[in-house]
Symmetry: none
Subunit: 404 residues, 2 copies
């Protein structure tokens, strides 16, 4: 049975832009390889979650892998925590965090502690393993000022508000319960944050930073509470031995919670400087060993958020070039995006994304270009993200008949 | 943020007709303005409720506004009652009614009391406010022989059969409960109808009618029981300050229950003689003040029900002409129908309807004509009515992201 490649060009979908004659980035960009896949394949458009619904990268990836985001997604925390490698247990409540800088009145002076680059590992160690009441704290640093916090204990709830005020020069928020059963969790989180200030403010690393006039990383600012979701692995769900190649921890997190192996690629940064060739090389190698390989290329989304239409066009063309070697790989290939990030609005939108599927069992239509308008005329018509895995399983003859 | 215009040409969708070379009304009609919107916009076809499901105008409008008709629609009564301006309360059971003519054995001689035009206001006053057991009767006349009845009291159910026999020369039906908990309501309705005969038959207006050999409006014939549905307003649901321009009370009723303002336009009759120019003028004015404006033009549906293919073509062309001034209005515009009313079957059908969306964030496809076949090749592909509002909210940048 053929392996399945799901190639996600993050945020690649777009809207018309007057700077490029009212075309979309994909209509304007010269993408020879993507067009040649479109010519050989079956094309359509896809609503990652549902028509008009604006997906996050996390909820979109969940949906494309066949998990209902409305059921498994209670907040970003668990996906970030899993992304940096924390092993979660059922009932854990997890948060994304920043190391931040506060004054003695707990007013935030810098939400990112000057984008601190060194020392967070040592600071994180001071917090990891402590207990607040009967709850165990798991705390781990990520890139720069970022970190993840996990509360492990009984009867915890993620139905609480953020501590992070999301702006500088505001006092940290008290976390408030949004339901009766969340009072205890909010209480514990508030205690933890105050404790983090006590511990971090006096730490030698921060004393050193103050001496150097750098903002001290003297508090933890949690946000995005989520309870660890019950998710069957890709293996249990589909009998697919699965791997993920991704630069950003959020996609790694989703993949880890889906029980996939994470393949780390040197030079795959999740940034605009990411080494796409290296990623594609790793993907081709992985396809020999795995039934299913997910690869996420984050860069188009970043240009979308920056409103940089020509940067996004160049990135689309750069990705396109890197896809050349995939022509010689024999497997079911799905080329798509997790959502649109129109350069005109610098944010995600609910517009559908183009999809091209190639492979030996695939009906070939007459679409010639990989873009939002051309693909809509293809043999796939308009599908939803939740259906993608079932389509892929069927086209690789893995599905079982329902009925007789 | 751009306002949203939803223009519904009632029953405009059609099927092929041999009288016009096997084309549909829209394929045959010359509709320059609609075609030019299609050229500038994103096109598709839409199942107002679901593929093959035949919508009523009420259930279709509900669905297009994002309300699940299977949840909120228990019968036509509440929408008619709201349409003529009765303020409903939760638990109210409402009915559409006719003033009818019966003989002393309660056999219906004329279901419409000779399409009585005068005197129903006075007759209605005799019934409005009376009590049957512990239930309050709210009764109001509408156009000609039509009226609405509301039962207000505790533990009422709409799960009962009609009194109206739907044919002349049959005795009125006894309303029967269709579930155990509806016995009381059926009982009260039967008592009310008998009471209506006692009160109306002796009324001077009817004595006068009998003298003039006109059929007396001596009984009330209720049908279409429905319980007042819990519906969040458009403002609560979408944060949209919303208004409706419509001739027919049913659409006004749906709009009122959706918390929309009703804009009455002089000459907007809901008939084939309706002043479409005046309606479009009112719409353009409303778009300055409201975030969302729904306009319904009923006439194409009436020609569909009459099987008048050339009448429907002329009406499509007349509407098309009236849409000219909309070209200069800067907003998101949605041109569509609530359902098909094929002239070949003289009734609603479950065929999808064409949709054209124009506006500055809209992907432009290469569809050139506004009809059921051309639009199906557009960048919207095939959508469902329930998704339309989410798409509109997204295209006007009003939606919030789900996830991160």
């Amino acid at each position: 049975m053929d392996s399945i490649l799901l190639l996600i060009m993050d945020g690649l979908g777009d809207r018309p832009d007057v700077r490029i004659d009212g075309k979309t980035v994909l209509q304007y960009a010269k993408t020879k390889n993507l067009d040649s896949f479109a010519k050989k394949g079956m094309n359509g458009i896809m609503d990652p979650i549902a028509p008009g619904i604006i997906p996050g990268s996390d909820t979109a990836h969940l949906s494309l892998l066949g998990y209902d985001p409305y059921k498994v997604y209670t907040g970003r925390g668990p996906f970030e925590a899993a992304g940096i490698g924390i092993k979660l247990k059922e009932g854990d409540v997890a948060f994304r965090c920043n190391f931040g800088t506060v004054n003695e009145k707990l007013v935030v002076k810098d939400r990112r502690a000057g984008r601190i680059k060194k020392g967070t590992k040592e600071l994180a160690k001071m917090l990891d393993g402590i207990r607040i009441d009967d709850v165990k704290i798991i705390f781990e640093e990520a890139v720069e000022h970022r970190a993840a916090l996990v509360l492990r204990g009984k009867n915890l709830s993620s139905n609480i508000t953020d501590i992070d005020p999301h702006n500088d020069n505001m006092r940290i928020n008290e976390s408030r319960p949004l339901s009766k059963n969340a009072e205890r969790t909010a209480n514990i989180l508030n205690k933890f944050v105050k404790e983090s200030y006590k511990i971090l403010n006096e730490h030698p690393i921060n004393k050193e930073r103050k001496k150097k006039k750098l903002p001290p990383a003297n508090i933890i600012l949690p946000r995005g509470a989520g309870i660890f979701p019950r998710m069957r692995s890709m293996d249990e769900k589909y009998k697919l031995k699965s791997a993920c190649v991704a630069g950003i921890s959020l996609v790694k997190g989703v993949s880890r919670l889906a029980g996939m192996d994470i393949i780390n690629v040197k030079g795959a940064t999740g940034g605009v400087d990411t080494d796409i060739d290296a990623k594609i090389k790793a993907v081709i190698k992985a396809l020999e060993k795995y039934d299913f390989v997910l690869v996420n290329i984050k860069a188009p989304d970043l240009f979308g958020h920056d409103g940089d239409v020509f940067g996004k066009i160049k990135m689309a063309e750069k990705i396109d070039k890197a896809l050349g070697p995939l022509k010689d790989v024999d497997c079911l290939k799905i080329f798509t995006a997790d959502h649109s990030t129109p350069v005109t609005i610098r944010n995600h939108s609910g517009d559908p994304v183009p999809v091209t599927i190639t492979g030996k069992n695939v009906r070939v239509d007459d679409v010639k270009n990989f873009d939002e308008i051309s693909c809509a005329k293809g043999a796939l018509c308009r599908i939803q993200g939740k259906d993608l895995m079932n389509i892929a399983l069927d086209l690789t003859n893995r599905s079982e008949k329902f009925g007789a």
